[in-house]
Symmetry: D3
Subunit: 227 residues, 6 copies
């Protein structure tokens, strides 16, 4: 009955072209294009400046202090995947370091998103293997208890299903359900196309108050100007 | 495309008999019976001593500082339901107080589980309306932005689908998927039936080391006794 | 130039009748009556169940690990006052215990609100001296550095001027500027007078959706009902 | 070389009479009597109202998510002991519940102090087995990795050596080195004997400013009174 | 009666020459020159390495999840201003991004200090628009509820009045009341002039113990040297 | 009786050659070589990118808001030492800045590890004086209360004895007892010598599942592969 101790081998990954297209947009734009949903909590930070990820999720459910399932996940990786690791309780141990990164990279993985700790951060930067995590911690882990691979997980407050698109940059991490990848990518493109004009107007000194026609609703809401 | 702005009216609630049976067990027992999954994070605490809930989830997704959807949820409540409220971002405002509690109670709701703040806590205790929350805060909220009712939500780290069984006591909050309610209730019963004998042995001075036959595996793991 | 090292002796306390009237309402009601402002952050909690305070603020600015100014404040207390203590940096030491409580009580003080730690909590409950604090901690403090008494302070996120009315109950702590005490008390009374009718309707099964006429604005905002 | 995987059987417990004497004083008094050292951090809270402990430490070093060593510790317990459990990383899992409490109680243990989570809190209260912990959490743990028993540990920021006296009440938890138990108990007694007179003076309206002769040093430090 | 829903147009900004002079000193120096007050809490961090701000405050009070007032504030900005944004409750949503930054920059603003979240951090760095915030978060906000502009606010624990000088660097954020700007600037200059000599002595191996003549007061306080 | 107010002058520092050898390895490697113990908590972070320390500990116990003992410690420093500063309660004040850094550097110190705040961070980077801390904060401190120098301290959860080796890099801070320095350095060397081969295999696509022979124990634990 438990959802622990399971590895799902065949998962439906989001359409590759849609993934590539999503990779052209920032996390904030994609989140807006989805209708303002899908974000992980803001404690998820890049472990080095400039880290960026876009790929399809292979999910891992870890036990506290135990990274056994990371090795099980490695076998399920395909080029273009991103490992998304959750834990059954809050734990900041260093579940991941340069050896696992070497293995993941050899399998074609594009990065790791983990609601826990990682280590060997300087080496990860040298390797160009981007990681977004809750903590950096040298604490070692054991290999003794089963979790699962490729089941739905909650990572930093977001539901991630295997095959979903995960995009991470300096502004955070967003999860796009596989079935919505193309639609969201198109919506992001459309949204971004409007931004240039807005930016030009604002740079020229036009106020958002006028550009977005806010003066009337502000007055209706009761805003009062005093001297 | 967004999952915001939706109210699902017809949800499949867990079998009533299974819910009642689950109500006879503690949260820790049910969590173990499920294979050690399903718990919310430990920041979810009862707002008064002795609060306890068992019922079927009507889920609500709130926006920060806005409790509009709580009123929308009230109409969807049936006797035996528990409102499970998540928020699109971390926020401890007082989304809920005695007036909403009066309305929920009139609809037959058994309690509220909310990853946010509540107020009027003394009155909630007098009414006997149990609440488990992240915070107690008098801060008022507005009614301006759409969230959703009866979509899957992540509440305090746990996925909750409408109709799932939610059990809360002093040890925390656990979510049992509707389809597993009877199986988990039976497993909890079985588990509890074993505990009496164990407790009697331990009370008589038998050591867990012997009762659980741990001495050999401990030695195999390398445990050393020194003087 | 510094605001440290100052004791202001003559402060204008809020009108006594207004203070007494405010004491009849809960913190949530007063906060709403003020237009939803004036609350301290939700980490301020009563140190024992049932604690409640309403009185006029004598403010204290402490240094971390140092409670010297609490003794200076004692002399400035008049019957009906509440000591409101802030600290120049975040610190959870036990700045206050039963001896200071005895002194404050002897001076007629009604309680303490402190963004720091306190100790001797069982004795405080026996004495009936209510305290709202950030922490309970036995850690002792020294008497070596000047802070100030009766200057404006920021306590748990709220500006408190000496003489302001401070009301604290299980839902939190609210600060009412002295000049607004009567107006807020009247508004709180009015607000509460409306609640009885609302509560009766909701208890009778009327939905907030109908009582507050929310159906139309919800539809206008785009809310969709699905089956 | 590692300090993991060790159980020390013979430890030197603090003198029994000194332990009993320490048990007559509050945590704040003992901390002061020691010269203001020895406290655990303030996140250590009693799991039920009224919990109080005084006894000699049997220390346990746990691994995250693993309570194997608690069973190993049970065998080392003697009447009058208190289990003090630390963890190799921050973890709030429920390492302890009513079965282990039954076993510990049968061995004569007086309580548990744990920098982690516990569960079955209602049952612990019914049993009268006091626990001070960082969290309450139903999360189950495994039995797979070695820690140690009766080595020096850091628990909630305090060094605890096996045999030390641990006193816990609503104000926190203090650790008295075994060799100092009698001296500290005597100092606590002396300190408390002075408090009655001070309390009487303060209750009679004498100010701490005068009783502690603070006016001169305050003036020397530059305190200014303004109107 | 509420302080919400107000925009004050005419504010008294600190003297321009004093602001420029303050801009030559670090935050730590200015804080010391003020007598060790005026700092925001240390959770306020620059969103990119090297960010630095000095200017006059235009204050904004936001509602959680709502950045409407940021647009209202834009109109009140004059060259040399810094936007200081507080929120009525703790909230880490992304209230600010590159479009608002473009608008603020076009108005001559020198940066933003916000006790909340921001996004588009890479673009902010490219634009050279410095921001100090509590969080980085892609989460979008709405425009539905009134806050205020140019009222006194509490931002990260510090009182900020419109027109005050705000200085931010890697060590934190300090607020200088407008009326004290010149005095504090002069005191900072004086303070810094003494530091060169001290630094030279310390670099030459002179101990602070001797330079500050601490040996005698340390001995008087009871310091004991042992071997 | 108190451990406060003491300066120990003669401490036994770890063997210089062993210290130098430890300096060649990363914190994660040393932690593993010690048997997975000795780490400080992950809130200890470098104040600038690229900071790294290896040296022998001179320990300091500070009081909150007071850095007097830092000056006392300076006199005890020898070339190759690292100052390790703990505090009697949690406090993030800026206990340390460029002047003290100048003094420490002049004495030959290699860096500072402090469970508190520091300031003048840009200047510290320019000086090349590495610091690992809990916070960056401009808040000034006083010189009024005794702590101790060169007594055992608990810093960020780790016991540090004077003379122990402290190694800090981007992955955290580890403490090696002086008596174990050579053994741990040798074990770290051995451990690292094995990593090259492992890394090469993993880079070539060999799975950890095979390299570490995990398939059998995973199956024995009950892992199930599904499609």
């Amino acid at each position: 009955m438990s959802t622990l101790g399971i590895v799902k081998r065949n998962i439906v990954r989001a359409d590759a072209a849609a993934v590539e297209k999503l990779g052209r947009f920032g996390v904030a734009t994609i989140h807006e294009a989805m209708g303002r949903v899908g974000l992980m909590k803001p404690h998820m930070r890049p472990v080095y400046r400039g880290a960026r990820i876009c790929g399809t999720a292979v999910t891992v459910l870890l036990q506290p202090g135990d990274n056994w399932m990371m090795h099980v996940a490695a076998e399920q990786l395909q080029p273009g995947d991103v490992v998304v690791a959750a834990c059954t309780s809050e734990n900041e141990d260093g579940f991941f370091g340069d050896l696992l990164a070497t293995s993941f990279q050899a399998r074609g993985a594009r990065g790791l998103v983990i609601d826990g700790g990682v280590r060997d951060v300087d080496e990860l930067e040298r390797m160009g293997f981007p990681v977004f995590s809750k903590a950096i911690h040298a604490k070692g882990t054991i290999k003794a208890t089963l979790g699962s691979v490729n089941i739905p997980v909650v990572c930093a407050g977001a539901i991630v299903n295997p095959g979903d698109v995960v995009v991470a940059d300096v502004d955070g991490v967003v999860v796009v359900p596989a079935a919505l990848a193309q639609t969201v990518a198109d919506a992001a493109e459309k949204r971004e196309s409007f931004e240039g004009e807005k930016r030009a107007k604002l740079a020229a000194g036009v106020l958002g108050l006028d550009m977005y026609k806010m003066r009337e609703p502000l007055a209706a809401a009761g805003l009062k100007y005093i001297d």
